[in-house]
């Protein structure tokens, strides 16, 4: 009477109170495509869980975007965005982040063929371009504050600094993570759990690109067009 035995042969007492799955059964051999084959592999589980985290992170950003949209005109008599944005600097930041993401993709290719040297090289330059992005952003922020647009000035600038700063914080945390990943690849090699983490890091880094594209559109392009 154990639940644990493999029960293959049809039995007169087999029944299905919900009248589902008739004719297909549920054994390993004839999986009907609803995850009936038993637990998924660890790689799938980790990747899936991380995707869910990314989705939740996107929702967090969408709240900040929504707030920024609501507060778009709430400048309280202070400077507006188009008056102070520096499109050249933003373009440079975008380039840095996109190149960084591309190099991150290359590191995944190198890790795929278990090449320690190229993995490290690409990860290193991923970090360098990420850092360049971050420094440019800090320079932007300080220049904005110097020109009288600090987050304390108006709700518009509060939401601007919050949404752009939140992305910047994500990049910072990503860089810390990147450092530990390089160390793990170096000391632990390409063992399965390190490979899974590399996949997650790649997903994270590309997601930050995605957020930046949305941010560029909503904050800078639409803001500039107002």
């Amino acid at each position: 009477m154990s639940a644990t035995e493999v029960l293959r042969t049809p039995h007169p007492l087999d029944f299905d109170p919900y009248k589902v799955g008739h004719g297909e059964g549920g054994g390993h051999d004839y999986v009907t495509g609803h995850g009936e084959g038993g637990p998924a592999s660890k790689r799938v589980i980790v990747g899936y869980g991380f995707w869910l985290f990314l989705l939740s992170d996107i929702i967090l950003f969408s709240c900040l975007f929504a707030s920024h949209a609501v507060l778009q005109t709430a400048t309280a008599g202070g400077p507006t965005g188009p008056q102070l944005f520096d499109p050249m600097s933003v373009a440079l930041e975008t380039a840095c982040l996109l190149i960084s993401s591309f190099l991150c993709g290359l590191s995944a290719v190198a890790a795929g063929v278990r090449n320690q040297l190229w993995t490290q090289v690409f990860l290193f330059f991923t970090g360098i371009f990420g850092l360049a992005f971050l420094l440019l952003e800090v320079r932007d922020f300080t220049s904005l504050v110097a020109r009288g647009a600090s987050p304390q000035v108006s709700a518009f600038w509060s939401s601007f600094f919050a949404v752009v700063g939140c992305h910047g914080c994500h990049v910072t945390v990503g860089l810390l993570w990147l450092g530990t990943m390089m160390a793990q690849v170096y000391f632990k090699g390409f063992r399965p759990n390190v490979m899974r983490r590399l996949v997650c890091f790649n997903l994270f880094w590309h997601m930050l690109d995605l957020i930046w594209v949305a941010l560029f559109t909503i904050v800078y392009l639409i803001g500039e067009g107002r």
């Binding site: 009477m1 154990s2 639940a3 644990t4 035995e5 493999v6 029960l7 039995h11 007169p12 007492l13 087999d14 029944f15 299905d16 109170p17 919900y18 009248k19 589902v20 799955g21 549920g26 054994g27 009907t32 609803h34 995850g35 009936e36 084959g37 038993g38 637990p39 998924a40 799938v44 589980i45 899936y48 869980g49 869910l52 985290f53 989705l55 939740s56 992170d57 929702i59 967090l60 709240c63 929504a66 707030s67 609501v70 507060l71 709430a74 400048t75 987050p151 304390q152 000035v153 108006s154 709700a155 518009f156 509060s158 939401s159 919050a162 810390l176 530990t180 793990q184 759990n193 983490r197």
Partner: protein, 684 residues
């Protein structure tokens, strides 16, 4: 050096929090001393604190929820007694203390009582019901629990160091802004919730991944027990809603700490944006709390009616419909904002519509009971009490969904009665049903029926005596959160509610006695077979308590209610199926990561509340070191040898064989007593 923290933070001038805090502190010291003196510390550390076993974590969550439920109930007692005394009088709680009490009551009950109870029961039952060995991310699971405990600790710390928020359970600006609440109360609230919120988000990710990716072979979506479906819906809601809470509270933190202008009066801030955002989380939160309870009732009602759940697929559909619609109704919490007739109409109609899938569920439960052989054990009593009471709460909810009616009773005691009606009857009754239902599975012995039933009847009666008067007094115009009042018509109702809360005290006493008596009489209440309720889903097929690995061999599921099928087959053939081929089992190793992370989060949270910036840095650095150290581990799993698995499973099989031999007449019993719908399809 210590930021805003000075000795003045300890409220020497306020005897109530000081005495309460000192009492809790002494109890805590006594428990810790007892643990150390009796030498239980290693056991506690290895078997519980560092455990990544979903069953243990579930038990710890439930325990946390119960303790905090008592804490929140004490706040409720204070509010009821204050209002009983405060007719044309100041009562015994000054306004600034009374405001802390009602803020703490709501915060604690929702975040640290109801949430841990529901998450605890999901933790315990979902992997067992899915026929698997653990959740997707066991160490995260432990981290989630300890982060929730951190939040609870910070809230309780505010009792003796500083003060708690006076800005209600949802800190509406501008009251919660620094200008109007410059003390640390709101900061305690915000950081406690931010930290616990991260834990809850991890839980959501963990359980969605578990339910969608880790199920026993053959366990297709439409074969999962309804509790797994409701857990899936609740955790999807967590993933979608909790980031909104984090973002909203984050913005309020920026306002308070760095002078941002998201929700301020000045600088172009928009305080109604806070209200919109917080309820975009808050309404799904209602369903995060109640959906798992719906799942528990579905399991309990099917089991104690001796029938498969009526309308399984409509139940699944209703669950997912609620999951979706719950995101489209948030504005009904503030119809009075002035969004205009059309907007209010849309949200009012959406709110009324959400009652439809809920009604489908109620009818399914009734039809499940119809024609069944109902056994009135304690879990079933909670389920029956729920169906009756929840319908009343649902109907007052539909009433409130009509904007013109809502304008009249907005922020009145009628509203207070409504949401207590649905949360107590839904979530709390569900938690008690779940605890009494799964307790024998978790600990190997049943809870005492007499005390359990007394606890139920007193809760049931106490609920009505407390909240029916509050409905009435709300219709008479009494608003919520009144520290004092002078309307004589309200007085009798307020006093009646005070009597009701005393009855609930009796219920609490019975519930506590239920645990004490059951533990003392555990030998006579022992569950030998692992199936004390004649259950239908997989968790009843393993031993009570289940071994660390849950199942010696993963079950092969061939239909809905797989265990019922296996049981009938064994009874019919009077023998168990052949012994399987036992193999070694890999399980995740215990890890102190969660505990240590929570330790650093507690330090960081406390330092942030009191502006002790160096300590913030230290706490964050510590958390980062734990992260790296955890990533560095080489061995993630340990192996249970096949002989040990075989030994455990053979013991279980022996118990089952004895049960079969003792009760050979059961086959005949089933043939003569079971309801036709419990018969095999096509053979009835």
């Amino acid at each position: 050096m210590f930021g805003k923290l000075t000795l003045n933070a300890i409220p020497f001038d306020q005897p109530i929090p000081l005495v309460a805090g000192a009492f809790v502190f002494l109890v805590l010291i006594a428990v810790i001393a007892w643990v150390i003196v009796r030498g239980h510390l290693p056991y506690l550390w290895h078997e519980w604190i560092t455990s990544v076993d979903h069953k243990r974590i579930g038990v710890m969550y439930t325990l946390l929820g119960l303790v905090m439920l008592v804490r929140g109930f004490i706040d409720a007692l204070m509010m009821r007694s204050q209002q009983a005394l405060a007719f044309n009088a100041p009562g015994y709680l000054p306004p600034e203390h009374y405001d802390q009490v009602f803020s703490a009551h709501g915060t604690i009950m929702i975040f640290f009582a109801a949430m841990p109870l529901m998450i605890g029961l999901m933790n315990f039952a979902v992997p067992l019901q899915l026929g698997v060995r653990d959740v997707a991310f066991p160490t995260f699971n432990s981290t989630s629990f300890w982060l929730t405990a951190t939040g609870a600790l910070l809230v309780n710390l505010s009792l003796v160091i500083g003060e708690f928020s006076r800005a209600m359970w949802l800190p509406y600006p501008p009251l919660s802004e620094y200008r109007y609440s410059p003390d640390v109360g709101v900061d305690y609230y915000l950081w406690a919730l931010q930290i616990a919120g991260v834990g809850t988000l991890l839980t959501g990710i963990n359980f969605v991944t578990t339910i969608l990716k880790i199920r026993a072979p053959g366990m297709s979506y439409l074969r999962m027990p309804v509790f797994c479906w409701t857990a899936l819906a609740a955790n999807l809601l967590i993933i979608a809603a909790f980031p909104v809470l984090t973002a909203t509270l984050g913005m309020l933190l920026l306002d308070r700490y760095l002078g941002f202008h998201f929700f301020t009066n000045s600088g172009g801030g928009n305080m109604m944006m806070f209200v919109n955002l917080i309820w975009a989380w808050g309404h799904p939160e209602v369903y995060i709390l109640v959906l798992p309870a719906f799942g528990i009732f579905s399991e309990v009602i099917a089991t104690f009616s001796g029938k498969p759940l009526f309308g399984y697929r409509s139940m699944v559909l209703a669950t997912m419909a609620i999951c979706l619609i719950s995101f489209l109704v948030w504005l009904h919490h503030f119809f009075t904002m002035g969004a205009g007739g059309n907007v209010n109409a849309v949200f009012g109609i959406a709110t009324a519509i959400i009652a439809v899938p809920t009604g489908v569920k109620i009818f399914n439960w009734m039809f499940t009971m119809y024609g069944g052989r109902i056994r009135y054990d304690t879990p079933m009593l909670w389920a029956l009490g729920f169906t009756v009471t929840f319908v009343i709460g649902g109907m007052t909810g539909v009433l409130l969904s009509v904007p013109p009616a809502d304008f009249l009773v907005h922020n009145s005691m009628f509203l207070v009665a409504h949401f207590h009606n649905v949360i107590i009857a839904g979530t709390l009754f569900g938690a008690f049903a779940g605890i009494t239902y799964w307790f024998p599975k978790a600990f190997g012995f049943r809870l005492h029926e007499g005390w359990g039933k007394a606890g139920f009847w007193l809760s049931f009666a106490g609920f009505y005596i407390t909240f029916v008067p509050l409905y009435a007094v709300g219709l008479l115009g009494m608003t919520r959160r009144l520290q004092t009042y002078d309307v004589p018509e309200w007085r009798p109702w307020v006093l009646a509610a005070g009597v009701g809360v005393l009855v609930l005290c009796g219920a609490l006493f019975c519930q506590v006695m239920q645990f004490i008596v059951s533990i003392r009489q555990r030998e006579s209440l022992r569950d030998e077979t692992g199936d004390p309720w004649n259950g239908r889903s997989l968790e009843w097929s393993t031993a009570s308590p289940p071994p660390a690995f849950n199942y010696a061999v993963l079950p092969n599921v061939q239909g809905g209610e797989p265990y019922w099928q296996i049981k009938r087959r064994a009874i019919e053939s009077q023998q168990l199926t052949a012994e399987p081929d036992y193999k070694p089992i890999e399980l995740p190793r215990n890890s102190p990561t969660g505990f240590i992370t929570a330790f650093f989060c507690t330090i960081t949270g406390f330092a942030l509340i009191w502006h002790i910036w160096w300590l913030v840095g230290l706490g964050l650095f510590g958390a980062y070191v734990v992260f790296v150290w955890f990533a560095w581990r080489d061995r993630e799993e340990y192996v249970i040898p096949a002989e040990e698995v075989a030994r455990a499973d053979r013991a279980r099989r022996r118990a089952r064989e004895e049960w079969l031999a003792q009760d050979a007449a059961r086959e005949e019993w089933l043939a003569t007593h079971a309801h036709p719908s419990a018969q095999p399809v096509g053979q009835a």
